[in-house]
């Protein structure tokens, strides 16, 4: 479900800005490192992890805002290929920056109160924190849906997504909406990055491992569709799990196979709309 948060950010950025942000995994990784940094700096302070979950995504959103304003804005008019090159450059830059600041070692964040321990389910003990993460998926999904469908900000976003020239003509501040959406996407990546460390580790290289899965999710669900990202994340998770049960040796390939099948049958994704 954590992957859904990242995929959702990737998807709404593409939907509105028409930018395929290759550096989205890097923003996630940056979130992880920021979360680690805050928990370490505030070691001993009660609830330090939850503070980190509050602070780290904001830092990442801020970085996202800077990227949008200073780097992406000048090249919207250029060809798509320049965006790929730029965002790929960002992948390298962010990875190197993390390496310079936090080194090539790995860091651990403890499971926070009150989600320590596990509960018995279907004869298998299941960690409570993982249940919390699973619950986070729908919560964020509903939150985002409400934001986009029910608020003024959402209306603006939808207007710009629909037709940027028309929205501009009608008085919507398009550049500001772009920055806002990019920051929202970055914030989601940062949130995922700070929620994940308690079940895993913070280390370099997690950016690429994550971004590939997220691209599969977004392609399955349909680029630009929030519901698609949600469904895509569920499908990918289930495929991997069932793949492991059926043909474990080939489980690594299952996500890709699924993606290829969907691209053949419905090139615009399950929830996407043909252009």
């Amino acid at each position: 479900m954590v992957w859904f948060l990242i995929a959702a950010g990737l998807s709404i950025i593409f939907g509105t800005l028409k930018v395929l942000n290759l550096a989205h995994g890097s923003l996630y990784m940056l979130g992880s490192f920021c979360c680690y940094q805050v928990t370490v700096s505030l070691a001993g302070v009660p609830g330090n992890f939850w503070l980190a979950v509050l602070v780290a995504p904001l830092v990442v959103a801020l970085v996202g805002g800077i990227i949008e304003i200073f780097l992406l804005r000048p090249i919207y008019k250029a060809e798509m290929i320049y965006q790929y090159i730029l965002t790929f450059a960002l992948v390298l830059i962010i990875a190197e920056a993390c390496k310079m600041i936090w080194g090539t070692g790995y860091h651990s964040v403890a499971v926070p109160w009150p989600f320590k321990g596990s509960v018995g389910m279907f004869g298998l003990s299941f960690p409570i924190y993982n249940l919390f993460l699973i619950a986070m998926g729908p919560v964020v999904f509903i939150g985002l849906r409400t934001l986009i469908n029910k608020t003024d900000l959402g209306r603006n976003i939808r207007a710009v997504t629909e037709n940027r020239e028309m929205a501009n003509a009608l008085g919507t501040n398009v550049p500001r909406v772009y920055t806002g959406v990019f920051m929202l996407g970055a914030w989601l990546a940062g949130l995922a990055g700070s929620l994940w460390p308690p079940v895993s580790v913070v280390m370099l290289g997690s950016d690429m491992a994550v971004v590939i899965d997220c691209f599969i999710i977004v392609v399955i669900g349909g680029l630009g569709s929030l519901a698609g990202a949600f469904v895509g994340a569920l499908i990918l998770g289930l495929t991997t799990a069932f793949g492991l049960y059926l043909i474990p040796k080939l489980a690594v390939a299952f996500g890709f196979i699924l993606m290829i099948i969907i691209l053949i049958i419905r090139p615009y994704g399950l929830m996407g709309e043909p252009e």
Binding site: L124, P127, V201, S206, A241, L244
Partner: protein, 414 residues
């Protein structure tokens, strides 16, 4: 008046300085020139604990040897350089040490990439290079050259063959499920493990092989599969460092360690688990290999070594520190045996070297220049003696855990 006094003072001071400086070379000249050892290691950055403890281990040995009169009346001199885990930097330091400092030996380092770069240079410069940590089997197998010697275990006894031998001696599991990172080392480790183990325990079976993309930190789906697979043991192939830590956290929270036995080759070394406290997730009851279980080795010499490393660095002694210590004594023994520091003669002496170290006898194998350093194994637990989880019920493996000469001949295509 004051000015003349000042001038006089300066003159006096200068004269004294000149006298001291003039004296210094004559006292040095009275002694024989030292045997210089260029020690290149990763002394900065996040994995510098290996370099720092290794240099300390080498220093302890050098001080002991010099206090006992040196080697053939010559003192050993250690020159430590930082390779910053970069092959370019390592090569540059090696060149500088050989050309400028005129060292007699090169030693050290952790990264196999850096070690291969230095090894190549050692061959061109015709200097002996002694490795204390780098694990890649390629250094002594495909990329072998006669100037390079390794005084540490390599990936074979550590990840694949050693764990298989250890499992056959301990848990003797019958139904094993493997989980590995999908890359060369992961595949090789499992191949090695399978070949050795199935031969020793013929009724055992690898019931499934699971693979995850390299760098992945989400193992939850795999852990669920492992828990329900009916296996009585799992084996981790090529998952170490951060990946191993992530896996262990998840396996721990899903209760996998209570369900089946575990073989986690890398879990035995203090570097991964040294910071883990009681109550934190750790590979409970896992069978692990270890390159220097200092807590399980008897004798004053070992205890003294651990104490000195702790005092010098504030860190637990890494296996690199023990290996570096052994290397300095290997240099002493080989030079004494050869009666010279002349490279070709020392190589001959090293090839037939047999040493008695505080971790037991160590023999050099002439064919691949791989010292038959022991590999230890044991069960991961907490005991009251140490603040971190460590291997207990420790056993020791020797030459049997390495590739045989015939296997290496095959690899080299001879």
């Amino acid at each position: 008046m004051t000015n003349t006094l000042k001038a006089f003072g300066i003159m006096l001071a200068t004269a004294a300085l000149v006298a001291v400086m003039g004296l210094a070379p004559t006292t040095v000249l009275a002694e024989k020139p030292p045997i210089k050892i260029g020690f290149i290691h990763t002394m900065s950055g996040p994995i510098s604990m290996y370099g720092i403890t290794s240099a300390a281990g080498a220093k302890i040995a050098v001080e002991e040897i010099n206090a006992a009169g040196g080697v053939m009346g010559r003192k050993l001199q250690l020159i430590v350089r930082d390779d910053k885990i970069s092959p370019e930097a390592g090569l540059r330091e090696a060149k500088d040490l050989v050309l400028k400092e005129k060292v007699d030996f090169l030693a050290g380092t952790i990264s196999s990439g850096v070690a291969l770069a230095i090894s190549g240079y050692a061959r061109r410069a015709k200097k002996i290079y002694m490795i204390n940590i780098a694990q890649s089997t390629r250094i002594t197998e495909e990329k072998f050259n006669k100037y390079t010697f390794r005084f540490t275990t390599n990936a074979t006894p550590y990840f694949g063959k050693g764990p298989a031998l250890a499992l056959a001696k301990t848990y003797k599991a019958k139904k094993i499920i493997s989980l590995g990172y999908d890359y060369e080392m992961g595949k090789n480790s499992l191949k090695e493990f399978k070949a050795t183990y199935l031969k020793m325990v013929p009724d055992a079976k690898i019931i499934d092989e699971l693979w995850v993309p390299l760098g992945s930190t989400d193992f939850t789906a795999h852990i669920a599969k492992m828990a329900n697979s009916g296996a009585d043991c799992f084996y981790l192939a090529g998952i170490y460092g951060g990946g191993e830590l992530a896996f262990t956290k998840q396996a721990w929270s899903f209760g996998l360690y209570d369900k089946m036995k575990a073989v986690q080759p890398c879990a035995g070394d203090v570097e991964t688990w040294g910071k883990v406290k009681q109550g934190d997730p750790y590979p409970k009851n896992a069978l692990a290999t270890c390159r220097y279980p200092f807590w399980a080795i008897k004798g004053d010499q070992n205890a003294n070594f651990v104490k000195q490393i702790r005092e010098m660095t504030g860190l637990w002694p890494s296996y690199g520190s023990m290996d570096a210590y052994v290397i300095m004594y290997a240099i002493k023994d080989a030079v004494t045996k050869a009666g010279t520091t002349e490279t070709q003669k020392v190589i001959k002496a090293l090839e037939t070297l047999k040493m008695d170290t505080f971790v037991g006898p160590v023999e050099m194998r002439a064919y691949d220049h791989q010292a038959m350093m022991p590999t230890w194994y044991g069960i991961m637990r907490f005991t009251p003696d140490l603040p971190f989880p460590h291997i207990t019920d420790v056993g020791k493996l020797g030459a049997e855990s390495y590739h045989t000469v015939e296997q290496i001949k095959k690899v080299r295509g001879k």
